[in-house]
Amino acid sequence: MSERQSSQLLPSLFDSLDEDQRITVLHLGPLLPETIGFFSGLRCRLHVNDLFAELPLSFKPGDELSVQQRISELLTFPDETRFDVCLFWDLLNYLDQEGVVALMESLRPFLAPTAMAHAFGVHNPRAPERDSRFGIVSRSEIAMRSREQKIAGYAPHSQAKLKEWLDGFEVKRSVLLAESRLELLLQTRA
């Protein structure tokens, strides 16, 4: 099933970018045709890394690698990479505190000074799971398609906890959506 939803915060990701600038985008989820279609119209480098395929990213007794080591190995980029835009989608709802902190530690060296990010969180941690893959249709419209396989480990966090753990980003704006979900606009911490 595929549907579309307008976004109040998505346009802000792109407002500060120059149309003639070559932008670097990080997409941490499965790539949808709509996203390719959108970015095909921009001068950009799109880095795609579907961390949902690596879940659960939490430490279990007996694991050889820590969560930080696993995420660090998954997120390798050329040294000169600096992301202008990061698309987390609802990944933060599937990571525990250690996972969110590890993600930030791995990304921080690769963020442009004015980097912005978009994510979905929840207003109420008991909000039901939105079992979707996400993409960008236009600068103000998001595509959502059902996941073919259910993902384990949905355990969303309050906005207060996310703000504490998102070292490197701060929440610039949040918008309450249906079913107590939140759309979050993040910017690099000054």
């Binding site: 307008s6 790539l31 119209g41 918008v175």
Partner: protein
């Protein structure tokens, strides 16, 4: 065509289109032609061609001088450079994609739009403005 039972290690070059249903390790250079990696194809090589269509597995960098297509059965780990790219739903991709629509192509405008209609959005409440 490289059939399903064929395995090649080395550089593949030529002056015709190529369909790969077998295994190739090394590099594939058919800059003026079309390369298709079929559903049973497994390529561990960099590919350069006019058009590259991937229905199977590719681990390597892909340069399509005109276009790269990853179909729903395609699985690509590598970096892609192409002026145009198509990806079908269900395709698996990990890597980077360099895109440049060029001056003549339709570009996406990043400029703020005059108005954004949230009419089809879920109910919204702005909780915080920074």
């Amino acid at each position: 065509m490289i059939g399903p039972s064929i395995e090649i290690k080395g550089t593949v070059t030529g002056d015709e289109d190529l369909i790969i249903q077998g295994k190739v390790e090394g590099s594939i250079e058919l800059g003026a032609h079309e390369v298709t990696v079929g559903e049973s194809g497994k390529v561990s090589a960099d590919i350069t061609a006019r058009t590259v269509r991937i229905d199977g597995e590719v681990a390597g960098d892909v340069r399509g001088n005109e276009k790269v297509v990853i179909s729903k059965s395609g699985n690509v780990r590598g970096n892609i450079i192409a002026p145009r790219m198509t990806l079908e739903d269900g395709a698996i991709f990990k890597g980077s994609i360099d895109m440049d629509p060029g001056d003549g192509a339709a570009k996406v405008s990043l400029a703020p739009s005059a108005s954004t209609s949230p009419s089809d959005a879920a109910p919204e409440l702005d909780l915080k403005r920074g």
